[in-house]
């Protein structure tokens, strides 16, 4: 970066910055005099809308123009005096080059340059419009905190800090993106997170060389392990509580400015099946919900494929009455079960996508048409059989019990090849597909940690939090692959109650 040093002549700096920003209309340059006895020329730069003009007036212009008139203490230079006693603002930094000047005002700061000095100050004045902390929209809970991250990096780090008041909670910040200069904060707990993982994350972040990071999804794709897979190896969350829990297990969180989706690495398969509420409800409820969720996962993945396999290859597996009633439903249906299933699945995917993308105002119309297409009308017209509608619907609903949306998308993608396999080979195809999937999953790693742990490689102790959700007093140890530097969470003593 060619870094032009600032000029001692104020007018030259103003002209240079104007030129650098191509005379943008929102650049405000306020020239004024400090003091009245021996007035010194000064200029304040900021971008309208990024900096808070009210604060600028109150904390910069007012003290400088009014109190700057008071007699100058002997010996102190003007910049020193400004810094020490006049600017009543917390965060002040020095800027020495034109590029720094441009960057600081573009990040919402105000910059102050003085006549006759070749450096100036940047003053934190950011005050753009921002959204309040609100309820999470994707990861909702019945019981548990109802706050979610916002687009503001600082708010987000504060939300996490408020949950973990531990000096070991470390925050490393860097700017990624040559043009966007997006702030990315990496948070982990020193002493719990494994050094190798932290080092690996740092390296992968430093390796990113792109001009724009607009959402954490960009970062996710740049840092994920380079293996072709449909499974997500980076978790994202909009819930401060689940990120805090991940940090306490030894994960690393990446908070990207401008998005409420915080990344958590390394991400293991089981994390995608855990919801924060599992830990807030009593453990028996949590366990039951987990089991339901795994059943849902199975149906979402294998449902239509299983139906196709049984009805077109293995009719002998059905009870006679069921076979007859299924056969009756298929009377007059023109397509093979596979085509029928494919049609319904694709229709459903279109409806779902439309549901997300359509303007809110037309929502009702689309949902009415949608229910007709996917349901009654298609059956009555004899295009699909009612049983297939049931299978597709239960599959669709099941895919939503997977708490992480990116995992449920992966499952949806896999459904189609599995359907094609069973349509050609029956159960045999289903098993081939299932085993291939299992092998693939076992081979995956996320930041060096085996994706399927603690199931493969097997760790008996960690199974307390896979399908079961053991009571908190009995979860004494952190997951062994991640938190081995400080494995013990709590003493053996149980909490209150009768002994």
């Amino acid at each position: 970066m060619n870094s032009t040093a600032l000029n001692a002549v104020l007018e030259a700096n103003i002209a240079a910055l104007r030129e650098k920003l191509n005379n943008s209309g929102d650049l405000i340059v306020r020239e004024f005099l400090i003091g009245s006895s021996a007035p010194a020329g000064a200029a304040l730069f900021f971008i309208d809308g990024l900096a808070d003009s009210h604060s600028i007036h109150q904390f910069i212009l007012e003290p400088l123009m009014l109190q700057g008139a008071s007699p100058m203490a002997s010996g102190a230079s003007l910049p020193g005096r400004l810094k020490d006693s006049l600017l009543t603002v917390g965060q002040i930094g020095e800027i020495r080059s034109l590029d720094e000047l441009a960057e600081s005002i573009l990040s919402g700061k105000a910059a102050l340059l003085l006549q006759g000095w070749d450096f100036g100050f940047e003053i934190a004045m950011a005050g753009w419009e921002r959204r309040n902390v609100s309820e999470p929209t994707n990861q909702t809970v019945v019981r548990g905190p109802k706050e979610s991250f916002t687009e503001n990096l600082r708010t987000n780090t504060a939300l996490i800090r408020r949950k973990i008041k531990d000096p070991a909670l470390t925050l490393e910040e860097r700017k990624i993106g040559r043009r966007t200069k997006t702030a990315v904060a990496m948070m982990f707990i020193q002493g719990i997170a494994s050094d190798s993982v932290v080092r690996e994350v740092r390296q992968r972040l430093d390796r990113i060389d792109t001009d724009a990071i607009l959402e954490s999804g960009y970062i996710e794709e740049f840092i994920q392990d380079e293996k072709i897979t449909v499974f997500p190896t980076v978790q994202n969350s909009e819930r401060p509580d689940s990120v805090a829990a991940a940090l306490l297990e030894g994960h690393v969180a990446l908070i990207v400015d401008g998005t409420p989706h915080v990344l958590v690495v390394p991400a293991l398969f089981i994390q995608f099946m855990q919801a924060s509420e599992d830990y807030y409800q009593r453990s028996d409820i949590g366990t039951l919900i987990r089991i339901i969720r795994y059943i849902g996962l199975f149906i979402a993945l294998f449902g239509p494929a299983l139906y196709i396999a049984i009805t077109t290859f293995h009719q002998e597996m059905l009870p006679t009455q069921l076979l007859i009633s299924l056969a009756a439903q298929r009377e007059g249906v023109p397509f093979p079960a596979f085509i029928e299933g494919l049609m319904m699945e694709i229709t459903y995917e279109i409806l779902r996508e439309a549901g997300i993308r359509m303007p809110r105002a037309v929502g009702q119309a689309v949902s009415i048409v949608g229910t007709l297409v996917i349901g009654q009308a298609a059956v009555e017209a004899g295009i699909v059989s009612p049983a297939m509608v049931i299978v597709v619907s239960i599959t669709a609903i099941s895919s939503f019990v997977v708490p992480q949306f990116n995992m449920s998308i992966s499952i949806r993608i896999l459904r189609f090849p599995l359907m094609a396999l069973t349509a050609s080979f029956g159960m045999f195809g289903l098993f081939i597909g299932g085993f291939a999937l299992l092998l693939h999953l076992s081979g995956l790693r996320s930041f060096g940690v085996p994706y399927m742990s603690p199931v493969g490689p097997f760790h008996t102790g960690d199974l307390k939090d896979v399908i079961l959700r053991a009571p908190h007093p009995s979860m004494r140890k952190r997951p062994s692959l991640l938190g081995k530097r400080n494995p013990v969470r709590q003493s053996r003593r149980r909490g209150g109650g009768r002994r």
């Binding site: 072709i228 009805t311 077109t312 290859f313 009719q315 002998e316 006679t320 076979l323 007859i324 009633s325 299924l326 056969a327 009756a328 439903q329 298929r330 009377e331 007059g332 249906v333 093979p336 079960a337 094609a420 349509a423 050609s424 080979f425 029956g426």
Partner: protein, 401 residues
């Protein structure tokens, strides 16, 4: 490099999908679901009749049921069963699919000539399971049994299957014989097979019409009656109701049934048998085979048509003793009949001897039919009456005071 390899693999897999031609794939509406099969003699050929479900007529649907028959029957003759079944495609639009076969009925005429050749297909074919019931059409053809529409169960084969299963649980003379069981007995040295008999009552012609099920009392009915006794694969005779019952008692097939008995002072009473346990034990004494049958029966009093005082232990004891006598008598009569009339060991006494003394069995089995006829059978029957029902004294006793 890895992406290239992956692409090649994916392309190869896709080609493979085309190559299969969807091997063995059959849509549900391309199946002719066979639920019952009948096998008869047709000269020197087999006459095979199958009952195929018409799914649209059977499945639960709103808006009433149509007037079409719930099943269709196809018949064809062939030198082999397989040939006959394949020949049916000349009349049936769908290929015969036999995995859901529930009942196979064999015509009595064929059964008397031997059914071994007919059963090979049913055992060999990969579609057919071996858990369907075998039945012999008593005094009629299998085809006419399959030709009757039944009330309650719309599919006649299901009616046969279900009533066989129900009777097996509640009526001692009936016991379902599956193909697997029949073939096991057929292949065993010390036991001759039996098969449940099925008879047709009423107007056979009217029975095949949907009018048959529109009536409150069907014109034609299918009824189980007794067991057909086989020497190897040839039918040689029938057991009547009483004998079938004894047969099932000896083999421990009885789950629950009832038994009529006369009261000590005239009149009838019925005992409900709720649990039985039979044990056949063989011995060889001085070269002579013997069996001992131990039967333990638990009963409830079910119905009384006479004046007895059930509050008295002596009366209950008396009932138990009479019941024992009756069972013992019926069983020994049946055994004697098999020993003298048929010289046919349908009870598996040979197997009991085999288990008890394999060395002696090797000698005895050479002329087992004769040895069976001469063998000594000891019966040890014990019954216990548990409960007498919800009333003690019959109101009859009050009437007569």
């Amino acid at each position: 490099m890895r992406i290239k390899g992956f692409a090649i693999l994916a392309a190869a897999t896709l080609l493979l999908l085309l190559a299969t031609g969807c091997w063995n794939r059959q849509e549900l509406n391309e199946l002719g679901i066979v639920v019952a099969m009948g096998i008869d003699r047709d000269g020197d050929r087999f006459r095979v009749s199958v009952q195929v479900v018409q799914p649209g007529e059977v499945a639960a649907k709103s808006g009433g049921q149509s007037l079409r028959s719930p099943v269709a029957m196809y018949e064809a003759s062939g030198r082999t069963i397989f040939e006959a079944l394949r020949k049916m495609t000349t009349v049936s639009p769908r290929k015969i699919y036999a995995s859901h076969l529930r009942v196979v009925v064999i015509g009595e005429a064929l059964a008397r000539q031997g059914i071994g050749t007919a059963l090979d297909f049913l055992q060999r074919d990969h579609q057919v399971r071996s858990d369907f019931y075998l039945m012999v059409a008593k005094e009629t053809t299998a085809s006419s049994i399959l030709n009757v529409l039944t009330p309650m169960e719309r599919i006649p084969a299901n009616d046969l299957y279900a009533s066989n299963a129900t009777a097996e649980k509640a009526w001692a003379p009936i016991f379902g014989i599956t193909l697997g069981k029949f073939v096991t007995d057929l292949g065993s040295d010390g036991k001759q097979p039996v098969i449940t008999g099925i008879g047709l009552n009423g107007d056979a012609e009217e029975g095949s019409n949907t009018r048959n099920v529109e009536r409150i009392r069907p014109a034609a009915e299918l009824q189980f009656s007794g067991m057909a006794v086989f020497r190897k694969d040839k039918l040689v005779g029938w057991l009547n109701e009483e004998e079938s019952k004894s047969y099932n008692f000896i083999l421990g097939n009885v789950r629950s049934t009832l038994e009529n008995q006369s009261c000590p002072n005239g009149g009838e009473l019925a005992l409900e048998i709720i649990r039985t346990k039979a044990n056949v034990k063989g011995h060889v004494r001085r070269g002579e085979p013997q069996v001992e049958i131990r039967l333990r029966v638990e009963e409830n009093v079910g119905e009384i048509q006479c004046r007895i005082d059930l509050n008295k232990t002596a009366v209950v004891d008396e009932l138990e003793r009479r019941s024992e006598d009756r069972l013992r008598e019926a069983m020994s009569k049946t055994i004697r009949k098999m020993q003298t009339e048929y010289q046919l060991d349908i009870f598996g006494f040979g197997q009991a001897i085999h288990r008890a003394d394999p060395a002696a069995w090797r000698r005895l089995k050479r002329d087992w039919d004769r040895n069976f006829a001469d063998m000594q059978v000891k019966l040890d029957v014990k019954t216990v009456i548990d409960r007498v029902g919800t009333i003690n004294q019959s109101f009859l006793s009050k009437l007569e005071e």
